[in-house]
């Protein structure tokens, strides 16, 4: 008996030490103690202040780009293979979710259809070639669902990486960027502690930074209608109308649809300024980009070249000479900060798709501090009342209950630190249920022991029977609650998950403290008491 208790006591002490170390580490002074506490207890933004945004990546953008590129390549390919056709165009089915991307080719001579099949099989492995009902001379390329799904997922991952790079470049401490919501929602949650200018951060995060250099065909026009009227209502083939602003007025230009170079050709971008001190952005191109850009700029000296950022004309300067590997983006309304921000987003790469904000919550540090202070005060008052009552009602055994409860909370906090979980307001709800069920476990056990004593059992036997009987109930209540917490964890997001995590850890800890630890304390008391003394319960 003695040795059994001793080894159990040692186990409990080991757990206590591991928990304390987990929370405070090995501090050598008060400052280190504070730092360790700060590093290991992760408070949610609702408690410590900061900004929390839920974003949705518009992944369909990325699929559109891929299928647009495929269309352009296919046109070139058919021309190169002198395969005649009457018409080729994209024919996406947007009624489906997710949309199905298709390219429709009409008027192909019957004897050349095998050639088309060969091209598709060899070079468009992501596409299926299918017949079009009712038109034997037409064929349709359909993007495989698996390929589209891959593109969507890659877009999500890439967007996440890009946002992470941008936030790191801004120097925000301890950001959280993670997937959110259900599979297929393509949502991200971005949490930035202590950021007090969420609008600027959001602009930097969400700027698609899709940079394109496109030759200007004609313009500027004061409105879309004016531009269309100039062309008799129909734009020339392979051109597009793009808006921009010049000295505060909305202007429209007709641009080549195909970009000379894009942000992908950039190897670097730095904020800089011209000789008169006006801010601008220097950029450098890779070899391929430099070659193409040199060709286009060399052949079009004197014409306008539009710098298009996120489908808006940023500026449209005159090409003064051939530009190859280095260039400057000037004009616009650069301020030092906006030049800096543009260079930052260009450097971090374009987002593969645009981003929509679904929600944005900013908790000021003082509100966070207020809720912590109130919450802590209320919890301490509640705990002291409960613990005090247990001591009054159960006397000696009340000590067991209080030790078990305190140890339960210690393990809970340490475990959250070890697994890096964050404590939020809903998480505190889980802690409260844990405390409630912890108290309940003790009450169940003690009431059972009292019952057994009333039946006239000896003290040792009554304690053993009390624990044994109550354990059945405790295991049922705990397993039921953990099962439902598991469901909440598996299917819930953010706040609901936070509740499930603290509840699960708390209940597991409670099984250890109320059943095992409390029993050891009883047993220790039993072996050290005088013969025939009554149990203090």
């Amino acid at each position: 008996m003695e040795t059994k208790i001793r080894s159990r006591v040692i186990l409990i002490l080991v757990v206590i030490v591991a928990c304390i170390l987990g929370i405070i580490g090995f501090p050598r002074n008060v400052q280190e103690l504070k730092d360790n506490l700060h590093n290991r207890i992760h408070l949610g933004l609702d408690l410590k202040g900061g900004t929390d945004q839920i974003l949705q990546v518009q992944v369909e953008d990325a699929v559109n780009i891929t299928s647009g590129e495929a269309l352009e390549r296919l046109k070139d390919e058919l021309k190169a293979k002198t395969l005649p056709y009457a018409d080729i165009q994209s024919a996406d089915d947007k009624t489906e979710t997710p949309p199905i991307h298709r390219i429709l080719i009409k008027g192909i001579p019957q004897d050349r259809i095998p050639d088309l099949q060969t091209i598709v099989t060899n070079q468009y492995s992501d596409w299926d070639l299918v017949r079009v009902p009712g038109d034997e001379t037409a064929r349709m390329l359909v993007l495989k669902t698996s390929a589209a799904a891959t593109i969507r997922n890659q877009a999500l991952m890439q967007a996440m990486e890009t946002i992470r790079r941008r936030i790191d470049a801004l120097g925000v401490a301890e950001p959280t960027i993670a997937e959110y919501g259900q599979e297929g929602d393509f949502e991200l949650v971005v949490q930035l502690p202590g950021v007090d200018d969420p609008t600027r951060v959001r602009d930097i995060m969400q700027s698609t930074a899709l940079l394109e250099f496109k030759l200007v065909q004609d313009g500027p026009y004061s409105s879309r209608e004016a531009a269309l009227a100039q062309h008799g209502g129909v734009l020339p083939p392979d051109t597009e109308l793009v808006p921009g602003s010049e000295s505060g007025n909305e202007v429209w230009y007709v641009l080549n649809r195909v970009a000379a170079i894009t942000g992908r050709d950039l190897t670097g971008a730095e904020p800089s300024h011209d000789s008169s001190g006006r801010p601008n952005v220097d950029f450098t191109l890779n070899r391929d980009g430099a070659e193409r850009f040199g060709r286009v700029t060399g052949a079009n000296i004197g014409k306008l070249l539009a710098v298009v950022l996120d489908n808006r004309i940023f500026t449209a300067p005159v090409i003064h000479g051939q530009i190859t590997d280095r260039g400057v983006i000037e004009g616009g309304n650069f301020t030092p900060q906006s030049a800096n921000d543009l260079a930052l987003v260009l450097r971090s790469g374009a987002l593969p798709a645009s981003i929509k904000t679904l929600s944005d919550e900013t908790v000021g540090p003082s509100l966070g501090a207020d809720s912590i202070r109130h919450g802590v005060l209320a919890s301490i008052v509640g705990l002291v009342a409960v613990m005090g009552f247990m001591l009054v009602y159960y006397r000696g055994a009340g000590v067991n209950a209080d030790v078990a409860l305190a140890l339960n909370l210690l393990i809970l906090v340490a475990a959250m630190g070890y697994i890096g979980a964050t404590l939020t307001l809903p998480g505190i709800a889980g802690v409260i249920l844990t405390v409630g069920m912890g108290v309940d476990s003790n009450v169940l056990i003690f009431e059972r022991i009292r019952e057994e004593l009333r039946l006239g059992k000896a003290v040792g036997a009554a304690v053993a029977a009390g624990f044994e009987q109550a354990f059945r109930t405790i295991i049922d209540t705990h397993v039921t609650t953990v099962v439902s917490a598991a469901i909440l964890f598996a299917f819930g997001t953010g706040p609901i998950k936070g509740f499930a995590v603290t509840l699960t850890i708390g209940l597991l800890a409670n099984l250890f403290t109320s059943v095992f630890v409390s029993r050891v304390i009883f047993d220790y008391g039993l072996t050290h008491r005088e013969k025939g003394a009554a149990l203090s319960i």
């Binding site: 540090p365 003082s366 409630g436 009431e447 109930t473 439902s484």
Partner: protein, 399 residues
């Protein structure tokens, strides 16, 4: 110390009074939810914008409303937040029809513009100290370098000013200031702050008479997703509990426990509807807590019933349930009383943020305890009495 000693209450004999009470409460709640007031969903579920602002003096709500009206925000709700001595208001704007990034932000911008029109903008080029984060304060202090820490290298200087800024901001956020500093010279009470630091801060910052303490902008998708999720996930959780209880007891026990828990949720929601309290995210967390608590309580009673069924031959089931409830009554009163004590403390001292949460639990603990006795147990009794008429005896798995 002991409150009860083997009580002999005929619970099943008085059950109809309480079942009637439950039905009345549930019906009132449902009617209120469906036709009368409905449920007031918080911004988390409804979508929209909420801005919490704390003022140095008691705010003039009419003036704020006038300013917002002028900005075109006619449907704004303005409510006092917390005790009047906090001088805080919460301004709510319903969801704009568009949800583009910019539109999502316009509501908040309009509120901030309106407030700065009303209470005066700061001097050009200065930042608002009362709305600044520790990082901003650190940046300004590092740039001004009032302590001459720059001589020790940038890293050391940043560390010095980072710690100092933390201390300063903590001081600003602590009561009685609670986020609003009235005078820079008050900062001399912060350890490490020299007159040089104060003048450096006064050079870069001004002190506004209000602080935006919290902004929340929720788009329609997040709101409806969350609402749907809260309902589905809770139902899935209840389903899982039902299966587990079925596995450990019998199906009817699972059904009874789930019905009782459902009853608790309906009545609690009914209270929210009747009292016009908002259903926020934290209230959902409290409802989940209530589900767990009520289930726990019911299982404790069921567990005793199961034990007694195995200990008794051909029991009168109704008497057996009464006896089981009486045996566990001392525990039930103790646990519920103590949990009630804890959540009451949250309700009284927990502050505005968790007020709805605590209210839900205060109601929930009472209802959850009561439903084990008067809803869950009678269902099981009713079922077995019907069985007994067919000549079958109650059966339950061995624990």
């Amino acid at each position: 110390m002991e409150f009860f000693h083997e009580p002999k209450i005929d619970w099943m004999g008085i059950k109809w009074y309480f079942i009637s009470l439950s039905l009345a409460l549930a019906l009132t709640g449902i009617i209120s939810m469906l036709v009368h007031r409905g449920l007031v969903f918080g911004i988390d579920f409804r979508g929209g914008t909420v801005v919490t602002v704390k003022f140095a003096q008691s705010p003039n709500v009419d003036a704020i409303r006038g300013e917002l009206d002028r900005a075109g925000l006619r449907n704004a709700t303005i409510q006092g937040y917390g005790p009047p001595s906090d001088h805080a208001v919460i301004i709510g704007l319903d969801l704009q029809t568009t949800t583009s990034t910019n539109a999502l932000d316009t509501g908040k911008q309009a509120v901030v513009t309106g407030l700065s029109n009303l209470y005066g903008k700061g001097p050009e080029g200065k930042s608002d100290f009362n709305n600044a984060s520790p990082q901003t304060v650190t940046d300004h202090l590092t740039a001004e370098d009032p302590l001459g820490a720059g001589a020790k290298g940038l890293e050391a200087a940043t560390k010095t000013y980072h710690d100092l800024a933390d201390a300063i901001v903590n001081y600003r956020n602590a009561p009685p200031r609670s986020g609003l500093l009235g005078d820079f010279s008050d900062l001399r009470n912060v350890p490490g702050v020299t007159p040089g630091v104060i003048s450096a801060l006064a050079k870069d910052f001004y002190l506004s008479t209000y602080a935006v303490t919290d902004t929340k902008i929720v788009g329609p998708k997040v709101g409806s997703d969350l609402r749907r999720q809260a309902v589905y996930v809770t139902l899935a959780g209840l389903g899982a509990m039902l299966v587990y209880i079925w596995f450990r007891f019998e199906l009817i026990y699972g059904v009874a426990a789930v019905v009782a828990t459902f009853h608790d949720v309906i009545i609690t929601l009914g209270f929210f509807s009747l009292l016009n309290k908002e259903i926020t995210l934290t209230v959902i967390a409290a409802l989940l807590t209530l589900v767990g608590y009520s289930m726990n309580d019911t299982i404790v009673v069921f567990d005793r019933i199961r034990e007694n069924v195995h200990a008794t031959k051909r029991p009168d089931f109704s008497k057996l349930v009464d006896h089981s409830i009486n045996q566990t009554l001392s525990r039930t009163i103790l646990t519920s009383g103590l949990t009630f004590l804890a959540v009451l403390s949250l309700f009284l001292f927990g502050g505005e943020v968790i007020h709805g949460f605590a209210f839900c639990l205060v109601v929930g603990v009472i209802i959850g305890t009561y439903s084990s006795v008067f809803i869950a147990s009678p269902i099981v009794v009713y079922f077995y009495q019907r069985l007994a008429k067919g000549g079958m005896s109650p059966r339950v798995k061995v624990a």
